[in-house]
């Protein structure tokens, strides 16, 4: 018999359900006074270096209805492509943000800095992108995706993740549309015709 390898299995996921706000953004859910403020409110602080942008969008179900109860979290590098915690990272960039959807419009708003390219293990670069993690009722495990930018064509062309999206027309689901000066639009479709490309790493 061979030596044994001790490996644990990851704890299985369960749906976040419709009340994830109670745990993750209680003040937004109307449970005030337990925490001074909800955690992860801002991706950046005043004074962050680089282009400050606003991304807006919604989360849609199979019937193209906007959803109100999912939670989205984002994680990204600063304008120079450095993640918080790395040497020389911009101290005004938190990198992480957690945003509930507006109770009236179902829209999220992410105000942040446009990230720089980040190095890949093989020596190349990833095009500027913001990682998203989405949980919702009806989803048994959080969904990973990325916001890329339609106006970063040169970098997008050589991005190792975008490169592998098939069919190519699904690429559009990962590109934020430029809708104004420093403003972008990015919708997430959990299921259906225009379903967002979700990642498994």
């Amino acid at each position: 018999m061979a030596q044994s390898i001790v490996n644990l299995f990851e704890t299985p996921s369960q749906t976040a359900g419709p009340y994830v706000q109670i745990g993750c953004t209680p003040n937004f859910a109307g449970i005030n006074g337990v925490y001074p403020e909800d955690f992860g409110l801002r991706a950046i602080e005043d004074g962050a270096q680089g282009e400050i942008i606003t991304i807006r969008g919604r989360v849609y179900d199979k019937f193209d209805e906007p959803m109100f109860d999912p939670m989205i979290e984002s994680w990204q590098a600063d304008a120079a492509g450095r993640f918080p915690g790395q040497p020389d990272a911009d101290p005004k960039v938190n990198g992480f943000c957690r945003f509930p959807l507006d109770v009236k419009t179902a829209e999220y708003t992410l105000k942040t800095v446009k990230p720089g390219r980040t190095p890949s293990r093989s020596g190349g670069f990833h095009a500027p992108h913001i990682a998203l993690w989405i949980v919702a009722r009806g989803n048994n495990i959080g969904l990973n995706t990325r916001i890329y930018f339609e106006d970063e064509q040169e970098h997008n062309k050589v991005d190792p993740v975008l490169h592998r999206v098939k069919p190519v027309k699904r690429l559009d689901t990962l590109l934020a549309r430029k809708v104004g000066e420093h403003e972008y639009h990015f919708d997430i479709r959990l299921r259906g015709e225009q379903e967002t490309v979700f990642l498994d790493m």
């Binding site: 299995f9 299985p12 209680p26 449970i31 955690f39 019937f63 498994d200």
Partner: protein, 242 residues
């Protein structure tokens, strides 16, 4: 040997299935297309780190945190504690653990929960803490009630506490639910049932931990959590800053 290789690929077989007709909402909201497989990158191998400074003194005490210590929530007093480790059995220290739950009657403090059980004036239903240097955490709370939900004709959730755990990298992010040993509703629950591996489903059932209970005060339940690990390697290029 360093622990800075890529994340060990997620074993989807030990997680819930994406679609399960027994849990109807998954048929509307679970993606149809296969996920795009990739090796983790710096984006998923880094993640937010939080200081213990964000945690208030009562944050992990759901019995009193809603009233800021003025009065206590109704229900069976319990302590929920455990350890967060990764797949390599290494402790995950200093990581944020958030929980939320229904009150003792099975009602959530939320605008869209209209269950007829009453709200408890002294119970909010959220708590958070950081794991210590060795990955241990604990909460003081009340045992949540079972509650009905619209799915099949007569559907009840077993008593459960929702858990959100960060780990040290964005790719480790996990939300799950803890159940209670001996609850007969666990075996009937289609949400638990989306996990097809029985041993894995049992990982979500906290054991009654008499030794760590406090006489005349609370019962303890032990709930350990395993997050994804990273491949241990000296051979792969180490990304700067990792």
């Amino acid at each position: 040997m360093t622990n800075s290789g890529p994340l060990i690929p997620r074993n989807r077989g030990i997680h819930p299935v994406i679609h399960d007709p027994e849990m109807k909402t998954t048929m509307i909201l679970g993606p149809m297309e296969p996920l795009l497989s990739m090796e983790s990158t710096m984006t998923e191998e880094t993640g937010p780190r939080f200081g213990h400074g964000i945690i208030g003194q009562l944050d992990n005490n759901l019995i009193t945190n809603f009233t800021r210590g003025k009065s206590e929530a109704i229900g069976e007093r319990i302590r929920v504690h455990g350890r967060v480790v990764d797949e390599n059995n290494r402790a995950v220290p200093n990581t944020l653990v958030e929980i939320w739950q229904a009150n003792a009657g099975g009602r959530y403090r939320h605008a869209t929960d209209h269950y007829l059980a009453p709200l408890d004036l002294n119970f909010g239903g959220c708590g958070r803490t950081m794991t210590d240097q060795d990955g241990f955490y604990e909460f003081l709370t009340i045992k949540p009630g079972a509650y009905p939900w619209p799915n099949r004709d007569n559907e009840w959730r077993p008593m459960h506490i929702h858990f959100s755990i960060f780990g040290h990298s964005f790719g480790q992010r996990l939300i799950t639910q803890m159940y209670f040993e001996g609850d007969p509703l666990i075996a009937r629950c289609p949400i638990v049932g989306t996990i097809k591996d029985r041993a894995q489903a049992n990982q979500l059932v906290a054991a009654l931990d008499i030794k760590n209970s406090r006489p005349m005060d609370y019962l303890a339940y032990k709930f350990d959590i395993v997050l994804r690990g990273r491949r241990q390697t000296m051979f792969e290029n180490r990304l700067e800053g990792l």
